[in-house]
Symmetry: C2
Subunit: 468 residues, 2 copies
């Protein structure tokens, strides 16, 4: 069928991309690298105002670390078009007709609709922010931070705000990064968190360290609380956030409660959706059961190499890798995305936060018995100026000693140390094998035993002691 | 035989340790953790004034980053003795009698000698600095920097120096770190280097970047030059360093031309010595062919896991690991040191330098055909403040794509990134496998493609392109 269509266009195949952000445009660019415009036509649809931007950079733009919006744009629509990618902005795909191999798209401004046929299709529809279903959630002054439009709206709101009290709803990555951004702008910041500790991607004992640091920065932490209502003033703008038993005054509210995979189109088209609501693909990022459809980025589920289960991990770094793999395959080459180990790093002011692999509850959930250890060490040799404390938690499988996960909280040099564990997890190393890793050592960079090695030694001892 | 001797001491075994620095005292401490003083007597001999100190910290002490000598002492002799380790300072072992299982030791101050029998022996005699065989090499004002005594002597010399011109002989790790230290003390620094580029542990193209940075710091680099003579003034103190065709005025001279394994005793005792002059051990750090003798630290050769050859790599981080393994085995447990991949990190002012695995010439030497790529990236997302350039060179085996080595030169965040490659080398990963590593990403810590991933992608493309 795809050949017949390509034949209609004089032998030239058409690749259609839905979604013009990291995954979609990486796929388009990589396919273009492998196939020239005489062999492959590439059409990409983006419903928003921007393509190829760094959503991860929005907190730093809002916080003033990054001067302007344009810094976050990796490549403009014009740059894509100059490389023979027919990127159609403000054009929303409203239907995928798998049987006929075509998509229907609507010009957002004019409302005009038309069908475009494809030989190969890439679905990169991204994520949809979770919007709490409560009164006032859409009031002026309440903001998500997923798109550059969101960022501009928030900056406008901050400029217009009556006072300088901000409430951040959610204490995950986006929540803590936005708390930092608002502190930097001089706001009094309150973070309302469903859990007892921020950063539920960490175990609670490690989250506690983040909690303490945030409180130390003057952030008011409201724990174990659910926002029930956004209260508005006479002008209709937000004035406070209500939880079950309190009201928190707010001149601006930022929602950082995560995202869902945006798979409305895919669902309607009958494509396979996993338990977390994301598209299911094979290792080549091909939508299962569909030879000529690929999907990647925030709209797919990924294999967790440590647990063996599929997870939803919406991160720009994965989206870029997916795009690269899809573009290679759609361009006639061969590449795979084997899965993730669950690495993530963040910071709140100078506190660095990192995790990879399984938390205690993840291990329990998949039936893995584990030993957990926590060590305190320093970022540099203890005698070297600037040495700062670092807490490393490590999980190893009971008896086998296989590394299961690492969490690190500390100051300078803490976050990227998690990469050591990320590679070790990928390689399936045991904590005992890790004790002899030949890591870089010099006093300005590490104690003679790197903190990760200190944790590995302690985990090894515990695995040995409990192995009987 | 060992039992007979232990029998003579009422069933208590005796562990004798030669050398009271990192490897020796780590071994003693770990053996003590496993066996109490009623089971195992531990006697350690150290000929110097200090035990368990960080030689790697000396440049930072001389440079003023570390306030005093005592900061570099990890554990004092008193602390060791409080843990029932009979550490005898200023006592030099002058002979190992393997047949009789005893060592002869001499009190350095009194000259008194006596024999001590052992059931188990640990040789941790460390390294001997290479002293150039030339006139004036022993003149006042010429200094090595291996021991705390050396550091004190150098600091004394700096205090007494007539002017502020320093010549550093050698441009390896010690040379560049001492150049930084002397710059920090306000010296005019000249580095005399045998090679064309500093840091011969890097390929010359990467060494060139270090050269440029050192010149930029105001350091005078004399390349391709051999010191022929140290010239002294009327007072007998150094006044200049002569190379074949020039004289370089010097109020103080620091020798940073490396070290040799100190194996005089071991050689005399007939123990096995390798091609690099170091003791040869098995994976348990046992001296080959000797059931009750272990050796570790700067006096042994280690297996290079990438080349498959034995190398001499005198580094504190290995010495500590060796000590840990030796102490575990000597204490009746089981541990091994599998080998090294050749990781090393250093810095000269804010330039960070890192390497792991094989250089081009190492690969050629062992018959490995390779593809080499070099990429320029940044330490953080390009738009994030403080993002600084980073150069990553990567070697992969021809056809198989197995990672062979990585070298990194950059500013903040460059050095410890080499750990990613160190773990990947240990695991035997290919560069293509590395392209999907789940490394920590957030704008303050990395571009969306970590510089190491950018290099892995380029190396993968080159391996594919040349595989036919």
């Amino acid at each position: 069928m795809s050949r017949a269509r390509a034949g209609d266009r004089g032998g030239r195949e058409r690749l259609v991309v839905i979604g013009g952000d990291a995954a979609g445009m990486s796929a388009a660019s990589q396919a273009r690298r492998l196939r020239g415009p005489d062999e492959l036509e590439i059409v990409a649809f983006e419903r928003g105002h921007f393509a190829s931007f760094s959503a991860c950079g929005i907190p730093y733009w809002v916080g003033g670390d990054v001067a302007g919006r344009d810094g976050l744009i990796a490549r403009t629509p014009e740059e894509h078009r100059a490389r023979d990618i027919d990127l159609r902005m403000r054009t929303e795909v409203t239907e995928i007709d798998v049987a006929a191999g075509r998509v229907r798209a609507r010009d957002v401004d004019s409302g005009a609709e038309s069908w475009t046929s494809y030989d190969k299709l890439v679905i990169a529809t991204g994520a949809r922010p979770i919007r709490p279903d409560m009164p006032g959630a859409d009031a002026p002054g309440v903001h998500g931070v997923q798109t550059l439009d969101d960022g501009e709206a928030l900056l406008g709101s901050l400029a217009r705000a009556r006072g300088s009290r901000a409430v951040v709803v959610g204490a995950g990555y986006i929540g803590v990064e936005m708390a930092e951004a608002l502190i930097k702008r001089g706001y009094e910041v309150t973070v309302v968190n469903r859990g007892k500790e921020p950063m539920s991607t960490l175990d609670p004992d490690m989250g506690r360290l983040v909690h303490r640091a945030m409180t130390g920065l003057g952030i008011t932490m409201v724990d174990d609380a659910e926002v029930t209502k956004v209260l508005t003033g006479d002008d209709g703008r937000v004035r406070a956030v209500a939880t079950e038993d309190a009201e928190h005054p707010a001149d601006v509210v930022v929602l950082g409660i995560g995202v869902h995979p945006e798979t409305t189109l895919a669902r309607a088209a009958g494509l396979p959706i996993g338990p977390h609501g994301g598209l299911l693909t094979d290792r080549a990022m091909r939508v299962r059961g569909h030879e000529n459809i690929w999907a990647g980025g925030d709209c797919v589920e990924v294999l967790d190499l440590v647990s063996g289960l599929y997870r939803y991990v919406p991160l720009g770094t994965h989206a870029n890798k997916h795009g690269q793999v899809i573009g290679t395959n759609a361009g006639g080459g061969y590449a795979t995305f084997p899965g993730v180990v669950g690495t993530a790093v963040s910071k709140v002011c100078d506190l660095e936060i990192a995790r990879t692999g399984l938390r205690e509850k993840d291990a329990r959930r998949v039936g893995l018995r584990y030993e957990a250890v926590t060590v305190e060490s320093t970022s540099r040799a203890g005698y070297y100026p600037g040495a700062s404390p670092m807490t490393v938690k490590m999980l190893a499988e009971h008896r086998t000693g296989r590394l299961l996960g690492v969490q690190i909280v500390g100051r300078e040099g803490a976050a990227k140390r998690v990469d050591i564990a990320a590679v070790a997890l990928t390689a399936g190393m045991t904590v005992e094998q890790m004790t002899s890793l030949d890591l870089g050592y010099a006093p300005p960079f590490s104690p003679v035993w790197d903190p990760v090695l200190v944790a590995a030694r302690k985990a090894t001892a515990k695995v040995r002691a409990t192995a009987t």
